[in-house]
């Protein structure tokens, strides 16, 4: 028998996307939400595709490999992000290198597209490196704010929520075509990384 909540899924999806498409312009930068530093940090992450896409790729990769991988990434990445962010708060300056950003897209997108049989340790290491690198850059960027540590917590919460939702969504996928769709998303991320690499060569 069909679950009633499952049969209403299209309706819920339609309502959510209708509201999403009618959204007003977002003021995503720090100190612009008016709701305090926690939400400033949270919204800053959600409006930063250079942060979101690698996290999403890692979540999809971990979810594709299984629940144990997802759990490991879920707790490693936010902690590493927080550690990197706190280190960045006390740093003077750092410039995000476009080659490294492209390399993350290529690496994580490529692993996802290939459905690579990475080990739990390798997934954990990737999550730790990604978290420390991006957290550090975020920390440096918000270092001059008095409430930066609270904003960083909001940002880390957003990372936790995204990786939890995305990994859990993929873990429960059983249909072959759905898992293929996740791998196609990986190929798109890797392809974006290649173009970013070319762009970085052009501008440097």
């Amino acid at each position: 028998m069909k679950n009633s909540s499952q049969s209403r899924l299209p309706l819920y999806a339609f309502v959510v996307f209708t509201f999403a498409m009618c959204a007003l312009p977002a003021e995503a930068h720090l100190n612009t939400t008016g709701m305090g530093p926690f939400y400033d940090g949270l919204v800053h992450f959600l409006m930063s595709p250079e942060d979101i896409v690698p996290v999403l790729a890692l979540a999809l990769l971990a979810g594709l490999r299984g629940a144990s991988y997802g759990r490991r990434a879920l707790f490693t990445l936010p902690v590493a992000w927080l550690v990197g962010g706190l280190a960045g708060l006390s740093a003077v300056t750092a410039t995000p290198h476009p080659f490294i950003a492209a390399a993350w897209f290529l690496l994580l997108g490529g692993l996802l597209a290939a459905d690579a049989k990475v080990s739990v340790r390798a997934t954990t290491a990737l999550a730790a490196l990604l978290g420390i690198y991006h957290g550090y850059l975020n920390g440096v960027g918000m270092g001059h704010f008095d409430t930066a540590a609270v904003a960083l917590l909001g940002l880390v919460f957003a990372v936790f929520a995204l990786i939890a939702l995305a990994a859990a969504f993929v873990v429960r996928l059983r249909a072959h075509w759905a898992r293929i769709a996740v791998r196609v998303a990986g190929s798109w991320i890797a392809a974006s990384g290649l173009l970013m690499l070319g762009w970085a060569f052009r501008t440097h």
Partner: protein, 202 residues
Amino acid sequence: MNTPRHNPLVRATALAVFVFLCAQMAFAHPQKGEAVGFLTGFRHPISGLDHVLAMVAVGLWGAQLGAPAIWVLPVAFPLVMAFGGMLGLMGLPLPGTEYGIALSAILLGAAVLFEVRPPLGVAAALVGFFAIFHGHAHGTELPPGQSALLYSMGFVIATGCLHALGIGIGTVHRWAWGQKFLRVAGALVVIGGSFFMWKAVA
């Protein structure tokens, strides 16, 4: 029976994609013009009919060949196309780009027209070879001053959507009339490719 067509998740996804594609422009980061970068990238592959014909033909051919080609070809094309785009961005020349693009539409259309069924490796190599020409042409035409990340994502997503369009049309292959329809579509792609080849030569 819970076929993909009757699966609520599939229907919700299809609806969401439709609504998303109808969305108005969002200026979430007005200081950087990033939303404009995404839209510029998204519009680039669909702005030239020669590119559209070839990319839709890849999807049609994949649907004709069935699994695993139905997903291998659309995965291979954006990746290799992005590699070609990277070469174009780096300023490495590729001779005969326009001829390659027109020839890709002719050959891919012919593959659909005659329902050619080569080994998967050969099909992927053929698609990948022509993808370099498409990517290089896009790479050399990229406008300055855009967000590299969002431009790239819009560019790749638009390409993927064109493949998905081809695959979606190609699902009619399960019916006899659909097989004829696809062959007619392949013939139209050949005609279009021939027109662009004539333009490139003239």
